[in-house]
Symmetry: C2
Subunit: 168 residues, 2 copies
DNA sequence: GGAGAAGAGTTGACGTGACAACTCTAGGAA
DNA sequence: TTCCTAGAGTTGTCACGTCAACTCTTCTCC
């Protein structure tokens, strides 16, 4: 009954605690955005992406790539946000079909305020909670995991994710 | 224009990379369960919870508490899993109303196999990827975050979570 | 130029998750 | 006994996310 893959109790425990901590942190960051601005993390990500693309045209595919999302997810999200009045889909192609994405004035105002608050939350709940040697460990671990899993993702036929995943 | 809460570029970068790594890891663990057993992480959690409660009656409220879920979420999940034939809701109260939750033979078989595979995945993708000093840092950070956020959650009227959150 | 493949975007179905409203039971207190 | 409140569970609604199927360009090769 000895499994080669089995985990020792303290290993289970580490996994459990890490999962728990990580979940609490993400929940808290989300909860803050929701409480202060009434938007979800997904909405925030879209707003920030648009905010950071001042001149150039943003396409669904670009946004999907930069957020590491499926393009259908982007499309659904835009539909919901268009209903809420934060973004507009603009006709921009020569012959009239291409659709670009833009912020409404409301959306822009919201995005600008939310970015500032979000930075504060990231500082308060994440950056300021890391001792220097912990920060180093987290950094090294992150790089290692990204390299390992992204490589394998490319082999395994999972959506490429060129080198993106921006600020959320 | 200087924000007291603003983050330095390398701090943003650390946050981005941590988010990214963490997301890739969870996705991979999920993807494995899905590919090998056709179940989601949520389904897996329910199966394991039932597997670990051999004799005693499991109630919706207990499961919600032990997983850190809303009870409505448990109820919805049970409905879907009952449709798939993994669990049954049993009439157990004296006068006929209480409902307990149990595994079907299929559910039990699946749960037993999935637990073993999941342990292997956790070892492969998480435990074995941590250098000893990284493990120590992750452990300390997790404890710190849990303590900080759980405390605040209790003050802030968010769902208590007695001291639970089990093996997922 | 015309057929067809590749790329961009949308849509529908469905599982997931949070929140609020609801039903039903049990346990007290008047 | 009657009321009524707390606890357990379910249900509806809606936002979120994935997958697959679809439309409509646009590019390319003949």
């Amino acid at each position: 009954m000895v499994e080669p893959d089995a985990l020792k109790p303290e290993e289970w425990d580490l996994w459990d605690r890490w999962m728990h901590a990580q979940r609490l942190l993400l929940q808290e960051i989300d909860r803050r955005l929701q409480a202060e601005f009434g938007i979800s993390k997904a909405e925030f990500s879209v707003l920030v992406t648009l905010l950071r693309a001042p001149g150039r045209e943003v396409r669904v595919v670009d946004m999907a790539d930069s957020l590491g999302w499926e393009k259908s997810r982007v499309s659904h999200q835009l539909t919901r946000m268009e209903r809420r009045g934060f973004v507009v889909r603009t006709e921009s192609g020569a012959s009239g079909r291409r659709t670009g994405i833009g912020l409404t004035p409301d959306g822009r105002r919201l995005a600008e305020r939310a970015v500032v608050a979000h930075a504060g939350n990231v500082r308060r709940y994440f950056i300021d909670q890391l001792a220097p040697e912990q920060a180093a460990a987290v950094s090294a671990w992150s790089d290692h995991m990204i390299e390992r899993l992204e490589q394998q993702g490319e082999r395994g036929s999972v959506g490429a994710t060129g080198g993106s995943a921006s600020r959320t």
